[in-house]
């Protein structure tokens, strides 16, 4: 009773919500700022974005406050202690994974095509920048033109996305014509194959430098300002992420987005309503892949070193887990899922491992290294996939279709009342 009435009061009053949220942000950001390295406080600060999502404000206010939180509050709060770069590294990595998960969400969530080698497109993007932003490209393009200056990074964001999209189409063309289950295994194979190819393309022409990887990749450069630290990359990531989120939300309710969902629900019915099956699936594949490719470019620039071991099956699965955990087809869900999994990976598991190591070093308990949490990714991800598939296939935040009332449709004039031929529009 008590809880229910509180909840009702909270739901009713926006000023109360705003006050609580502001208090929460102030307390957590203060904690992050003052304490040296507190993972918990930082997590709670990020959690304020989730609270914001559940407030009753209009979308405009929510986006504006999210922008303030992401661009001002979080960078400022993190800058307090010695672990500034560590915090921002996690936040930047989070953003990269959110964008990739949103890309995979288009393929798996909207179009219902199971892509299990998604990291391949990330690799394509990363190598696109990596090869040309190091001396590597001199091996197959005459004239010592390379490495390209850091200013080219901004063009390469688009190029990386484009290349990944091309690869998506190349992979999709043969496979999308056959039944859906094959797609899963072919993409699974492709993810592995692309790694093998990148691992061995140092002969006959040295393109990827094989297992040695590409090192000292040029940092991005904006009018002479060089981006080298994670807290600088954070802003690039947030910028791209904003574009990606905007694009995804526009796409979801567009004609194309509705076709994707129709294909997902029933291919044959969708086809008989005039949706071109192959083209619709291919665009989903290409757009999803291009998001991943763009973030690949950022990743390459941020790490300044890439090699094939960053693009394994576990990475692909991580992205799939993000989508399944958050809710297939649900944009806020996928953002939440991606953040949760990234933080679990980068913060929680490593912290737990070092805590356990400290305990067993002091001789309190003997934890064998085989059981160290940072090695348990496969188990955790596998369990998440199974449990969510069985008990919560819609994920943490379920996808909702936009509801359109009949009156607004009739009034808007987009679909005029059926009167002769005018009603039949393309």
């Amino acid at each position: 009773m008590e809880i229910n009435s509180t909840r009702e009061r909270l739901a009713g009053s926006k000023s109360l919500q705003a006050g609580l949220l502001a208090a929460f942000v102030v307390v957590t950001s203060g904690a992050v700022y003052l304490m040296d390295k507190s993972v918990l406080a930082f997590l709670l600060l990020l959690g304020s974005l989730l609270l914001l999502y559940y407030t009753g404000f209009s979308n405009g206010i929510k986006w504006a406050s999210a922008g303030i939180l992401l661009l001002l509050v979080i960078p400022f709060a993190a800058s307090g202690g010695s672990s500034h770069e560590a915090y921002m590294e996690v936040a930047a990595q989070c953003g990269i994974y959110v964008a990739m998960a949103l890309g995979l969400n288009i393929v798996v969530g909207f179009a219902g095509l199971l892509d299990m080698g998604f990291v391949a497109f990330f690799a394509v993007g990363a190598y696109t920048y990596g090869i040309f932003a190091t001396a590597q490209a001199n091996n197959f393009i005459p004239g010592s033109l390379f490495p390209l200056p850091g200013g080219s990074f901004w063009i390469f964001i688009l190029l990386g996305g484009f290349m990944a999209g091309i690869f998506g189409i190349l992979l999709g063309l043969p496979v999308l014509r056959v039944k859906g289950d094959y797609l899963a295994i072919v993409t699974l194979g492709f993810g592995e194959i692309i790694r093998i190819i990148f691992n061995n393309m140092e002969k006959p022409i040295n393109i990827t430098n094989g297992a040695m990887g590409l090192s000292s990749i040029q940092p991005p450069d904006l009018f002479g300002f060089k981006f080298t630290f994670p807290h600088q990359f954070y802003f690039i990531v947030i910028g791209i992420l904003a574009v990606v989120i905007f694009a995804v939300r526009r796409l979801e309710h567009s004609r194309l987005g509705r076709s994707w969902k129709a294909v997902r629900e029933n291919e044959i019915a969708a086809q008989s309503m005039g949706i071109p099956l192959i083209r619709t699936k291919l665009t989903a594949f290409a757009i999803g892949a291009s998001f991943s490719g763009m973030m690949g470019v950022v990743f390459a620039a941020k790490q300044t070193f890439i090699d094939p071991t960053s693009f394994t099956l576990v990475e692909s699965t991580t992205i799939l887990v993000m989508v399944v955990l958050g809710g297939m087809g649900s944009v806020p869900g996928v953002i939440l899922g991606a953040s949760l999994v990234t933080i679990l990976n980068l913060q929680v598991l490593t912290e737990l491992t070092s805590a356990l190591n400290a305990l067993s070093n002091n001789g309190y308990i003997g934890i064998p290294t085989a059981l160290s949490p940072s090695k348990m990714q496969r188990l955790i991800f596998g369990l998440i996939l199974i449990l969510f598939a069985i008990f919560r296939p819609n994920g943490l935040i379920r996808a909702r279709n936009r509801k359109v009332s009949l009156e607004s449709v009739a009034g808007s004039g987009v679909y005029p009342a059926p009167a002769g031929r005018a009603a039949i529009r393309k």
Partner: protein
């Protein structure tokens, strides 16, 4: 060219052994797909579990001296039976826990669950192996490791001699035996008829008083037991195993199943041998054929390209029937 001919006998022998392994693993994929229309991603991991169980039994028995008291063939048989029982039960358990609740769910969801199962199995096996031996890569001795020479050069001077492990012959024999037994079982026995009926139309089969759940459980048991047996053969042949062998091998076996026509048992056997021999051929000759620019490390790429080519030109496989989807 001469090099290729010279190594051909050895390539064929090794290819046959590998192909036999692919063929039996492919059977597991094809049987489950035939009945549930589900790619059982975990099947590669079941194969891997079989390899680990077999090796564990072998190492344990060698530790206690039990191995010395039994004749080696009986011991081999015993290991295989234990591994088969274990993986069979594991397959049934997986079906019960992860697949049965999702039988009516969209395909996407059950595929995701299947994928999750395979990840969990990999890690659980790694735990146990690492806890017991300190390393997840486990080596064991081969019971029938001795080699004999096959004088292929006496047929024609173009060919070089090949060496054959006794275990290679055991693999071929065991694989053939298992495949013939399965083929007989499915085509002749009462349960086999029930299995085919369920594969054709689950609802109608249940109206004909076939216990569909029992048939599915039986399918999983047989398919997984075959996978486990192959795991033991694999571990005996190659000596070293790790928890991640099931993934790529499973994918190639699946390619074999697709090549032969998924759901078709004889097709899967044929596909397995084709993929095995082609892969061995590629891995020993790619370097020679391309003048050293592409080496044996591309053999996995090669198997994968076969899958893509089959899917483009003959998605129903060599022996499968094209199925039109009905509304």
């Amino acid at each position: 060219m001469n090099d290729i001919l010279h190594t051909l006998p050895q390539v064929l022998i090794d290819g046959l052994a590998l192909g036999a392994i692919y063929a039996v693993v492919a059977l597991g994929y094809t049987m489950v797909y035939g009945i549930l229309e589900l790619i059982n991603f975990a099947h590669g991991e079941i194969f891997m579990t079989g390899a680990f169980v077999g090796t564990a039994v072998l190492l344990a028995a060698q530790g206690t001296g039990l191995a010395a008291s039994l004749p080696p063939w009986l011991f081999y048989l015993l290991i295989m039976l234990i591994a088969m029982m274990f993986t069979g039960a594991l397959g049934v358990g997986i079906e019960r826990v992860a697949y049965r609740p999702l039988r009516k769910a969209p395909k996407l969801i059950s595929l995701i669950a299947a994928f999750g199962v395979s990840f969990v199995l990999q890690d659980v096996v790694r735990f146990i192996a690492e806890l017991r031996t300190g390393n997840y890569i486990v080596s064991s001795s081969s019971l029938y490791g001795e080699r004999m020479s096959l004088p292929a050069s006496s047929i024609s001077s173009l060919f070089g001699d090949a060496t054959v492990k006794t275990n290679t012959l055991i693999i071929l024999g065991a694989a053939l035996l298992l495949m013939v037994a399965l083929d007989r079982f499915v085509n002749r026995s009462k349960w086999g008829v029930a299995m085919r009926a369920v594969a054709q139309d689950r609802e109608t089969a249940s109206l004909m008083s076939i216990n569909v759940n029992k048939v599915i459980v039986l399918t999983f048991f047989i398919g997984s037991a075959l996978g486990g047996a192959t795991g033991v053969l694999f571990a005996q042949q190659y000596g070293t195993i790790d928890p991640y062998i099931g993934f790529i091998l499973g994918m190639k076996a699946f390619t074999a199943a697709v090549l032969g026509g998924i759901g078709n048992i004889r097709g899967a056997m044929f596909g397995g041998f084709v993929i095995g021999i082609l892969e061995m051929f590629a891995s020993s000759n790619l370097g020679t054929l391309t003048g050293g620019s592409f080496g044996a490390e591309y053999k996995d790429v090669f198997a994968f390209s076969i899958l893509i080519i089959v899917l483009i030109f003959k998605p129903e496989g060599l022996f499968g029937r094209a199925v039109k989807e009905k509304v």
